[in-house]
């Protein structure tokens, strides 16, 4: 599964994207957030509890209860500021 980070989260994590293979018990986006925090201090900071960030699953905005089964790409990002 590919995980992507955008804006300041990309800088904090230290990479724009990475391929990960979480264990089967990581079933939802929320589970993935908790699991990713252990990869590095940068991950822990970017994905900290209470931080204002959202997610997309296969390039569609998703809530943290969305299931990961069959998903190819998950992205994490701060609130949008375009336009």
């Amino acid at each position: 599964m590919k995980v992507r980070y955008f804006a300041w989260m990309k800088r904090t994590v230290g990479v724009p994207e990475e391929d990960v293979a979480p264990p089967a018990e990581v079933a939802t986006v929320g589970d993935l957030v908790v699991w990713l925090r252990h990869r590095s201090p940068g991950h822990a900071e970017a994905l900290a509890e209470g931080a204002a960030f959202g997610a997309a699953v296969d390039q569609r905005t998703a809530t943290f209860d969305v299931k990961l089964a069959g998903v190819r790409e998950v992205a994490f990002f701060p609130p949008f500021t375009g336009g």
């Binding site: 955008f6 204002a52 390039q59 569609r60 990002f77 609130p79 949008f80 500021t81 375009g82």
Partner: protein, 157 residues
Amino acid sequence: MSVRVQEADFDVGAELSHLTDGNKRIGGLAVFVGLVREMHVREGYHRDRVDAMTLEHYPGMTERALEEIEAEARRRWPLEATLIVHRYGRLEAGDRIVLVAVGSPHREAAFEACEFLVDWLKTKAPFWKLEETPAGEKWVGAHVGDDAAAARWEKKS
């Protein structure tokens, strides 16, 4: 009925001519052009001038999000033509960022749909602004007013 995400500038006159050309059912064309505004941000005791910014986006998701927003506008209003062009990359004060254009037989629908598209793309399309100030780079936080503006179009379920 078109969405584009590009680094290059766009030619407003050419885009609008192309959009309405030959369609004689359009009575009103409402257009929004977003520009990089020179701003002064307070940073502790200093007021910094923002001269430029870099707009990051999520290729693939951006186009999809804009297409969904456009489709929603077409469901809500009787529109003859819609166009969204959004730039990314480094932009300086005075540069164009976004073009939204809506053609409809009637001006009320054109104005409403145009405002709707601008409000929604600010909160639902994956763009992030990194401002350059004399003190360094700074990610822009989400603007509370944008959420309020977008929320007024939410349908009651």
